[in-house]
């Protein structure tokens, strides 16, 4: 009985993944790319598109770092700080047995 559940779970997972790959390939041509061209994010191509259709526009963030290279700076800073914290704690947990 337990093995049956396991087989059903793994089988269902394989079917879902196969359907997802097929769905991706078939739906890919329908993906809207928005005004910014290819590789645009779904926040613009989907969320903001449907919001605009409903008469809602995205507002500027309260702290607008999307100015010049400022956004790049905060992304690098956030990535570096997050990477450091993750790496430091990974070492403490995985490498340092004592």
């Amino acid at each position: 009985m337990r093995n049956l559940g396991k087989k059903v779970a793994i089988g269902s997972l394989m079917i879902v993944v196969s359907l997802a790959v097929i769905g991706w390939v078939f739906l890919a041509r329908q993906a809207s790319q928005g005004e910014e061209g290819p590789w645009g994010g779904v926040d613009v191509t989907v969320i903001e598109k449907y919001a605009a259709d409903a008469g809602r526009e995205a507002r500027e963030p309260f702290i607008n770092t999307d100015q010049g290279d400022l956004l790049l700076f905060v992304f690098v800073l956030g990535g570096a700080a997050g990477g450091f914290v993750a790496g430091y704690n990974w070492r403490r947990l995985i490498s340092e047995k004592n």
């Binding site: 590789w39 926040d43 770092t65």
Partner: protein, 264 residues
């Protein structure tokens, strides 16, 4: 001799991959993602999503307080999980064929490592930092983004993982399913949040289906990627420190100790 060369080549390839991944992580491109931006939701709808967010984050904070009072040794696990959720959820990934970009959510992995309530808190903190400093999401829409990414991602991922483990599915596949379905559930919830606020006089489920279909070309493959990543990390942790997983929900119960040699 041949073996040594193959071994060296393998090391070079691994190093190159790690270097490429590092460059990708640090490459400064703005994140384009599923977070709902400031002003998209009407004020009352934005406020409604704060209610479940506050309840679940409150329970999560209580759990963190209780667990850290019991042992400080859980702190590295919280630090690792929080940083991982933050990084994963601002990591834009271009999707071939579709020509769009989006990001994984990271909260299914977080829920497997620290439990769904605590993962919800860590996801909420990541979303707050992104909304404040990375022009990514919003303060008024923080509640809605917490519900979709932090809450639903955590609980669906955790539920699927526990269910698959109960069915004796291998750990990689259980974590893979958790990452896959947690990711898709997050985007389905975002679609519902948008449709419920914006359908106006039209059909709620019609708009929901349209938004889900618009997400699909990007998010179907990204869900698979998130599943593979979650499966890989959980398997690695399970092989190296299985007690980290048994601490949360009991994969097996070897000597339970965390960093610093402190018993839990």
């Amino acid at each position: 001799m041949l073996n040594e060369k193959a071994h060296r080549l393998k090391r070079y390839i691994v190093l190159a991959l790690v270097f490429a991944l590092g460059l990708l992580l640090l490459y400064p491109i703005p994140a384009y993602a599923m977070h709902i931006a400031e002003g998209i939701l009407p004020a009352y709808w934005a406020a409604i999503w704060y209610i479940p967010a506050v309840v679940f984050v409150g329970i999560g904070i209580y759990q963190i307080k209780r667990k850290t009072r019991e042992t400080k040794a859980i702190m590295p696990l919280l630090g690792l999980t929080g940083a991982a959720i933050f990084l994963i959820s601002v990591f834009p990934i271009p999707v071939p064929i579709a020509g769009t970009s989006s990001h994984p959510v990271g909260t299914p992995l977080g829920a497997i490592l620290v439990g769904p309530f605590i993962s919800t808190v860590l996801g909420a903190i990541a979303l707050l930092i992104q909304a404040l400093f990375l022009a990514h999401g919003g303060i008024s829409t923080w509640g809605a983004n917490i519900v979709s990414m932090a809450l639903v991602g955590s609980f669906v991922g955790f539920g699927v993982f526990v269910l698959f483990k109960k069915l004796n599915v291998p750990i990689f596949l259980a974590a893979f399913a958790a990452g896959l379905l947690g990711d898709w559930a997050t985007y389905a919830t975002t679609a519902f949040e948008l449709a419920s606020a914006l359908h106006g006089g039209g059909s709620l489920w019609g708009m929901f289906a349209a938004i889900v279909t618009a997400f699909a070309p990007t998010q179907l493959p990204l869900g698979i990627l998130e599943g593979l990543f979650t499966g890989g990390v959980v398997t690695l942790v399970y092989q190296r420190r299985p007690e980290l997983l048994s601490y949360v929900w009991g994969v097996r119960k070897p000597e339970p100790s965390l960093a610093g040699g402190e018993k839990i």
